[in-house]
Symmetry: C2
Subunit: 343 residues, 2 copies
């Protein structure tokens, strides 16, 4: 039909598209506590809450098999979902895995993928309870749904940060992005000179941040042990700036981040400079680090100070003060979210 | 690496591949009651069970957008998952929907898809609680996970049919397959002569069986009302023969099916003959009817007789007697499962 209106998806962007598509789906069931818009959904079972999160990984969009070993890909496809469950302060328990495979994949290749899936399931103590397999006309399609559990009083949403809360993160940022830059560079070198061996030796840490990220279940366990419940939490998949913006928007608050408080690994710093990139930009917009970004009530400060792997980066402020970065040079900039936009 | 062993996936087939990939995933969590191998997984919440099922739909494999309207596709993508939840005798409550879209799709096109998703969510009273959207290099990708609830005593597995149980189905079979044949034929005619209008007028019923299948939630409600709990159940997605084989294999039993008991709609019968196909073969191997295939204890026979939409087709027998079709002509044939094999 030639006269139909055609709006390009790119005009909405990923989050705009999700808002657009899901705004006319009000929740109907009493058990559906929380739907679209957080890291995971919450379902009430008269006691424990069931936490559900799902991710779709498509070849050529989310991964390039030229430098992504299938075993790592399997591991990561589980981890990125468990990370969403952890971001609700919940314990992951089960996963379902669906895959679409073209006939260029052999059983041995799929076994590699599942060896990675199994390694992740074993490491995090989760059960593979279902899935679907299909052939695919094109590339590899992986869809994972993770299911977790949390008690109602311990669940942590994105929408509950309060003015005065301290903004924390569980590890250094920007490494996964810079690891990807190295893999992309080596791919180009390989395509031009196939006899060249890839040069990844000095950058094991950041390449590992890209190829084998971990979900911070250990931090959820630390929170439990220390009796700390963050006031809001999200996992960093799109980048600190983009993910902090989600917390601020949904909580109706602003944020101040101190540049000097943003943890950056020395290897990330060096590699950024080598690529002529600003290290702080990589840390703010890089994405895929899968660290937990969370806020705590100042009264919990003493408990949090003694926990390992926690970096304090700033403070939640009034919405009218915006989302700002206080640079080492003393300037105040808007914290712009570049994030990953797949459209 | 040239010397690596390469086994084609086609040598295993879909079910063989699933077995192969999942056999080394024992369940670790106390809450994981049932994992891979039934219509859905079961998770214990100290009371209600959470039921989880997931399906992946890929363009060119599971649907052809030349004759599949996006709204119908959205509706069907939900229904096929709810059908799996119903097949556990459970009530569907929530769904997550992930989509991968290439840039040939406009926002209006995606809206059509979601209008169908919403129509299904509304009709079945389920909540959309999450998902993921991404661009895709590979055409349209739809991954749905459905979540339901059932009490432990009412759950129905595939593995619990007993010798002497009556085999029943909730509706006529083969229609969806024959509807697909019509759509494929009209597509070929259109490709050859684009000015021809598609001729679907006389076959509304079977085309509808393909384009707008329903999950038999109404039957789950009837079971509840009548106090009947089937001894085993599965939904017919791959075809009666293939799906009955799942029940028999997992229950360690055999089955006798009476050809005269297999419900076939008059329109399916006529259309099969027009396509020079055997109507019973279409009913046995057609697939995608999404009726419930279940077994009942003979003591429930009187309760089931008065329920609408139930057809009795045969009986569960000893495993050593195999899975047989007793034809109208009085012969006994092996019931061979052709089903859909996507590999």
């Amino acid at each position: 039909m030639e006269n139909e209106k055609r709006t390009e998806i790119a005009t909405l962007g990923e989050f705009g598209l999700i808002d657009h598509l899901t705004r006319s789906f009000p929740l109907k069931n009493r058990e559906s506590i929380l739907g679209v818009g957080d890291d995971a959904a919450l379902i009430d079972n008269q006691g424990q809450l069931t936490v559900v999160s799902t991710d779709l990984l498509l070849e050529g969009i989310h991964f390039d098999l030229m430098y992504y070993p299938l075993k790592h890909l399997g591991y990561k496809s589980i981890v990125v979902n468990l990370s969403d469950i952890c971001a609700m302060n919940a314990r992951p328990k089960q996963v379902t895995v669906s895959i679409g495979l073209s006939n260029r994949f052999s059983v041995e290749a799929v076994d590699e993928l599942y060896a990675g899936i199994q390694a992740a399931c074993d490491f995090y103590g989760v059960d593979l309870v279902g899935g679907d397999t299909s052939s695919s006309l094109q590339g590899l399609v992986i869809s994972v749904t993770a299911i977790g559990q949390v008690t109602p009083e311990k669940k942590v949403l994105r929408s509950t940060a309060k003015v005065g809360d301290i903004i924390c993160v569980t590890g250094d940022l920007g490494g996964a992005y810079l690891g990807l830059q190295i893999l992309e560079r080596e791919k180009q070198i390989f395509l031009n000179q196939p006899e060249t061996k890839p040069d990844l030796e000095d950058q094991q840490y950041i390449v590992g941040r890209q190829l084998k990220p971990e979900a911070r279940l250990d931090m959820i366990e630390q929170f439990e042990k220390s009796g700390v419940i963050p006031t809001a939490m999200i996992d960093i998949s799109d980048g600190l700036a983009s993910d902090l913006k989600h917390i601020c928007k949904q909580s109706g608050v602003g944020a101040f981040i101190e540049e000097s408080g943003v943890p950056i690994h020395p290897q990330s710093e060096q590699m950024a400079l080598k690529f002529k990139l600003d290290p702080i930009t990589c840390a703010l917009s890089g994405g895929e680090d899968y660290e937990l970004l969370f806020t705590i009530d100042p009264k919990d400060l003493n408990k949090v100070r003694v926990m390992s792997d926690i970096y304090m980066m700033g403070e939640i402020v009034d919405a009218k003060d915006g989302i700002k970065l206080h640079t080492k040079g003393g300037n105040l900039h808007d914290l712009t979210a570049q994030g990953w936009n797949h459209f």
